[in-house]
Homo-oligomer: 487 residues x 2
């Protein structure tokens, strides 16, 4: 083809921007291909103004530096598994009448089915009720108080229920600026009918009692004999072995089991107890999820409280609301309605059965693993849907809204590039690109359990509100930057 | 740029083929880029004629069908780990004065350093000699006979030495046309100073005795309690977890350990013995190599003996010679000189220390894993050299010289395409493309051990000789095809 031929046919136009321009081109007979385009902050004038304030000029530079400090503190954290004990004995502020749950604060009235189911199971487990009817009535009547796990440096998958007598993993940051920080999570129950998906049958309660009376003591003793386990290094290995730390934990579970097995065998009261514990872990590829979550929480704690940082440090859902927090304003929730999960359903279930997005497990994405590290775990697409290429594309996309690449969490399929880490609220708004979360799907009714798995995003409200509050916070806390801009 | 500009400058020519043509273009002032090109069978007239005979016409179609039957039998095989016993008790033809070794047949005089070192260690282990000097003198003097592992349906990594008192894994094909086939391999010793790399110090012998007296009996008893283990399914999982089954076996080793751990604990004589066995496996990520190899051998046995199949069923090296066998002529070796390995050396070692390619482990590549499945194990490039892209490219290239894709051994990074399986001697010659093998590098002197890891190819002589013999075999065994061609 020579140059003349290029102009001989019908012009082909690739268009990005205002529709009216494309319409004019189409009117002349051109073939127009429109590229989807969202202006920064969705083009909403108030948010565009906020974004200009916090992204441009010297304040933008100051915030960039604060974000780098926050993510550097994250990278310097060294979360280790140091012990296992009952929640009431180790979680600060835990009380006999206190139940912790996933996500931002919520009352019984607004709780979704699976969270109510888990609470009812917790009432039975703690001996506060004898029947499920009593349990529901007592919970509704204020017999126990409800607080988020995150308010107690704990995290929990799905319903995320932690009651006083449940055993919890104890993680401790042993180095860096977060040294001494402790985080907590229950032990993973396995699949099928389990409390975290809102089931509360006898089978569920019997398993929880076994976990308290045998699994936790055997593991706790083995851990003392073995010594603390560096979870960051274990996670780094698992990312080389097809895990992403949220919906795929087979490698990390295997590595943990082989690491602890000799100590379990040497310290268990008898070989049958040791065998049962090894079998329990072996049968549950998600066993490590309840360690990748508090590991993520422990690393993110180190990044909290950097005064002018727009880095997201919490993402969590209670099945009704989705809440996020940012480094500059620790403890302050920005909340929106939890969305439905797009995914694959187990045989016999469909979207009509699904509860909205639930659980503290989005702490893994907040820490750059889970959905953000999907490229490390192409096999996960068989569980959450999509293709191996989609997994690579998701990790690349998350690289656009994050502050840094984690040098320790290298992803082989991306030429060992680090996992995209530290969501910047400003970038989410500027690029109109929400975080992607891998997650399980709970049945909407109490007592049933998991019905599928898939992908979900946080609601825009969380990020819009966080950007507005962060802008206000910066204007109040960095007046010299603002002054220099306006001079 | 318009069309005129294209012709205004110096012409740029991309050339493939005879050099004289490129030289003529260059003489006119064109810039010539030459693409490396090898004509089929290297353009050697006798081999081109052989290739035409066996690749074209009705004989070509008949051979294609035979290859498909051979690889289908491979896919239908179901190798299970069924037991552990002493070599003398289970390997057919084993005798007190017989030592088995890797690769094709070889005499003491032609053995390389590491193979001699392993033989000397074997003499000490069996109590046939008391000093290394005696061991060497007795071995040279014919005190024991030497035969290839492959002649006894066994395989061994590196030196591959199997002596009568060594414990071996017993694998059995439990279904399909290969039903009842049994293959054998020693248990992996771990890294550092080990017999398979030619070391024979006290440390090596003490470990081998411990493996015979504790590791093997404990595992054998646990295996009886557990029941047979489907190694094909375990390998399929490991390929989703970053293993390729030759130089990276961390996932498969982990999966095997968690599968067997409860039975080990329940059946070991005491908890300390169980703990030591679990620790031994935990400390050796290559433990599963000695199962992926006999698994591969078991699957390939099912493909042997398809009368007109050009599928490669054995590739093996003794550190001096490289030998291959093909389905149509079971037991017949086609041999050439073993090449040097291109790779990464451990600190303090260089290519000057390296022995040529050694070991039966190329049976993994013969079965479509190892170097052929490198795309499943991008992290391996940190061990053998290259980039993650190189790993993908190697698997894609091996797809060009193989008969089929293994539907069970899916590779996530290639959109779950199966591992390229069943090397066709004809395709290797037609495309002038040799198989790629991942492998360890042994020190050339006896007594030292591993010095690195890398990639290597078989010598061309193996394939040239196999093609010539296969062509002759076809002319003798399929006269009707030849007749129809010549009619």
């Amino acid at each position: 083809m020579n140059a003349r031929d290029l102009l001989a046919g019908v012009p082909e136009v690739i268009h990005l921007g205002l529709d009216t321009v494309a319409e004019a081109a189409a009117a002349t007979g051109s073939r127009v291909t429109t590229v989807p385009f969202l202006p920064p902050a969705g083009g909403e004038p108030a948010r565009v103004a906020q974004l200009q304030r916090v992204s441009c000029g010297s304040l933008g530079v100051t915030i960039d530096a604060a974000n780098q400090r926050a993510v550097d503190r994250f990278f310097a954290s060294r979360p280790h598994l140091v012990g296992i004990a009952l929640a009431r004995d180790v979680i600060a502020g835990m009380a006999d009448d206190l139940f912790l749950h996933a996500g931002p604060p919520i009352s019984w009235e607004r709780m979704c089915g699976p969270l109510r189911g888990a609470v009812m199971g917790g009432m039975l487990l703690e001996g506060l009720a004898n029947t499920t009817e009593d349990a529901a009535a007592l919970a509704a009547g204020g017999r126990v108080r409800f607080e988020p796990c995150h308010h107690h440096r704990a995290v929990g998958p799905m319903a995320g229920l932690i009651t006083p007598s449940m055993p919890v993993f104890i993680l401790e940051d042993v180095d860096g600026p977060g040294r001494g920080n402790r985080t907590f999570c229950t032990l993973n129950e396995g699949l099928g009918k389990v409390l975290r998906y809102g089931a509360y049958s006898d089978e569920v309660l019997i398993r929880l009692r076994m976990m308290r009376d045998e699994l936790a003591p055997v593991l706790a003793t083995a851990l003392v004999a073995h010594g603390p386990i560096d979870l960051r290094l274990l996670m780094a290995q698992a990312l080389q072995m097809g895990d992403e730390g949220h919906n795929r934990n087979r490698a990390a579970t295997s590595l943990l089991l082989r690491e602890l097995a000799p100590a379990i065998v040497r310290t268990a009261p008898d070989s049958e107890a040791a065998a049962r514990v090894l079998e329990f872990i072996h049968r549950n590829d998600h066993f490590f999820l309840n360690l990748s979550m508090p590991m993520a929480k422990c690393m993110l704690l180190a990044a909290e409280g950097e005064d002018l940082s727009s880095m997201v440090t919490v993402m969590a859902r209670n099945g009704t609301d989705f809440g996020i927090q940012i480094s500059a304003m620790p403890g302050r929730w920005f909340v929106g309605p939890a969305d439905m999960v797009r995914g694959l359903y187990f045989p016999g279930f469909s979207e009509a059965d699904a509860n909205p997005d639930i659980g503290d497990s989005a702490i893994t994405e907040t820490a750059g693993i889970g959905g953000f590290a999907m490229a490390a775990a192409p096999a996960i697409v068989q569980f959450v849907g999509g293709s191996a290429e989609d997994a690579l594309a998701t990790t690349r996309a998350m690289g656009r809204i994050t502050i840094a690449r984690n040098p320790t969490f290298a992803i082989p399929a991306l030429s060992f590039a680090g996992a995209p880490t530290g969501i910047d609220v400003r970038l989410v708004e500027e690029l109109s690109l929400l975080p992607t979360i891998n997650t399980g799907i709970a049945h909407r009714s109490p007592g049933i359990g998991q019905v599928g798995a898939g992908l979900v995003n946080p609601p825009w409200a969380c990020f819009h509100d966080a950007l507005a509050a962060f802008t206000e916070h910066c204007l109040a806390h960095a007046p010299e930057n603002v002054a220099s801009e306006e001079a």
